[in-house]
């Protein structure tokens, strides 16, 4: 066996397949993200609505698709769709029957459930005083939402959104299980061919790492662009760094709740 852990000849040879896998991974991620952005606000509004007709189903949706592990969700969608006769015999089977669609659907459902938390937390992080000021000026609630709450929520939620996007990207590794040839599937395939456990895994790991960090860089630029007017507030905010970096990487709601308690403590200061 080679003295080196990584067989670079093998890397070179597998590169085309890996690039294809990378493309599939990126494609799935982007589609899920777009679908997530489209549906997250209506879903969050439903969840936050005082009308139980909307709030209860939304709450169940979030509880189910957030609590269930992604792998089981994928199995459920992939094997379950075949059982639904209406789908199987229907005209759209070429969509619902494809592994790719099942992966997208499963990932999107999971992603949306987490996004509800991100959006809700972001909206709640907007200081109540701003909405009060807007309302007291005579601005209708719908306009208050559109011009004040939403733009500010987007700014407050960027970190939490970034974490969710990174989680999603890493989570796509599972779709290799339902026959989709993504990066992880390529790694497995190369291993099965060559019995070299390190080269394919480490190389694919490197691909994921680069992908994740490119995303992180992109978000950092987005964040500094959004924050260009808020130098003073951010300087103040940087005195007391975010509650826990760990929860930064995870569950958006707890981070934003922490942020909210910090904001409450800081209500003494000017915005």
């Amino acid at each position: 066996m080679n003295a080196l852990v990584i067989d670079f000849a093998l890397v070179w040879e597998s590169l085309p397949a890996m690039l294809n896998g990378l493309w599939t991974t990126m494609l799935v991620t982007i589609i899920v993200l777009v679908l997530g952005l489209i549906f997250c606000i209506p879903l969050t509004l439903a969840r936050m609505s005082s009308n139980r007709v909307f709030a209860l189903p939304a709450a169940f949706f979030v509880m189910f698709f957030r609590g269930a592990p992604l792998l089981i969700l994928l199995y459920l969608v992939y094997y379950g769709f075949g059982q639904i006769e209406a789908l199987r015999d229907g005209p759209l089977w070429f969509i619902f029957g494809s592994a790719f669609a099942c992966a997208v659907i499963g990932l999107t459902l999971n992603h949306l459930a987490f996004m509800v938390d991100v959006v809700r937390g972001s909206l709640e992080a907007v200081p109540a005083g701003l909405s009060e000021a807007s309302n007291s000026l005579g601005i209708a609630p719908r306009d208050t939402f559109r011009y004040i709450q939403l733009p500010l929520a987007m700014r407050y939620g960027i970190k939490a959104y970034q974490n969710e996007v990174v989680m999603l990207t890493k989570g796509t590794a599972v779709i290799s299980v339902i026959t989709i040839i993504d990066l992880t599937a390529v790694a497995n395939e190369v291993f099965e061919r060559t019995y070299d456990p390190f080269t394919p895994m480490l190389t694919v790991a490197a691909f994921y790492w680069v992908l994740v960090n490119v995303m992180r860089l992109g978000f950092r630029r987005l964040e500094s662009h959004l924050n260009r007017h808020h130098a003073a507030e951010d300087a103040r905010r940087n005195e007391k760094p975010v509650k826990t970096i760990g929860s930064l990487l995870f569950h958006p709601s707890s981070w934003l709740k922490a942020k909210r308690s910090m904001l409450v403590a800081r209500k003494e200061h000017a915005l």
Binding site: M63, F64, G67, A68, P69, L70, L71, I72, L73, Y75, L76, Y79, G80, G82, Q83, A128, K170, G171, T172, A173, V174, V177, T184, A187, N188, F191, P197, F198, M201, L202, V204, A205, Y208, W209, V212, N213, K240, P241, V242, K243, T244, I245, G246, S247, L248, L249, F250, H251, S254, K257, A258, S261, V264, A265
Partner: protein, 232 residues
């Protein structure tokens, strides 16, 4: 689909066995990650340049890579790693459980350590200053003042990690572990009832998560006793 009642319960029993395996993996994995992560977290608080560099590299890699890959890497390459590390003449077989446990430990220890760092960083500096003013030894300061508060600040993040590790355990089934999900998949395939078994499997995790929340809230209340509530 018609299957005999006996068959059905047979599968249920198998799934139950799988659930036990899942729980074992989860509890062991979380505990080890917590322990290792705390140690790593405390060590990497040091300002030593080398330690900082190693930590940066390690944490960046671990957090930039899917845990599934780490599981595969350790499962497929585990015996090679072990013989490389310990230079034994015969190779040791790595079980899915072992690989999964190691993977979960390594990955989530990094998150725990990062969490600790954040909590320490968020501690009001006045606490350290007060300890210095009171002339407390470093050990005493950490043991009685700093660490308890760090625990309080880090607790919500730990609950998050708990939930995430829980939902990561099914991935080990892809390395061949005979856990809840693996058995559910077998049962679903054999009986052609994917909805029944996969929804049941999902409910296992959902219910477990739902049960930890009130428990966590209670612990958090206990942590926060003595602290004034901010008036909104």
């Amino acid at each position: 689909m018609e299957i005999s009642s006996a068959e059905f319960w047979g599968y249920v029993r198998q799934i139950g066995g799988g659930a036990v395996v899942t729980m074992q993996l989860f509890v062991a994995g979380f505990s080890l990650a917590l322990a290792l992560g705390t140690v790593i977290g405390i060590i990497t608080l040091s300002r030593n340049v080398v330690i900082q560099a190693v930590w940066r590299v390690y944490s960046s890699i671990i957090m930039g890579v899917p845990s599934l890959l780490v599981i595969f890497l350790l499962y497929y390459g585990g015996s090679a790693i072990l013989t490389g590390l310990f230079g034994m003449s015969r190779s040791i077989d790595v079980t899915p459980f072992g690989a999964g446990l190691t993977a979960l430990t390594i990955v989530y220890a990094a998150y725990v350590a990062e969490l600790l760092h954040g909590a320490v960083r968020n501690l009001p500096k006045g606490q350290f200053e007060a300890c210095a003013a009171l002339n407390l030894s470093a050990f005493r300061a950490w043991r009685h003042v700093i660490l308890p508060q760090v625990a309080r600040l880090a607790f919500p993040g730990l609950v998050n990690i708990w939930l995430i590790v829980l939902k990561d355990t099914p991935l080990v089934s892809l390395a061949g572990l005979n856990d809840l999900v693996a058995n559910a998949k077998i049962a679903a395939g054999a009986t052609n009832e994917p909805f029944v078994f996969f929804i049941a499997a999902s409910l296992f995790f959902i219910v477990f998560s739902a049960l930890t929340m009130p428990l966590a809230a209670r612990i958090e209340v206990r942590f926060n006793r003595g602290l004034a509530r901010v008036n909104t």
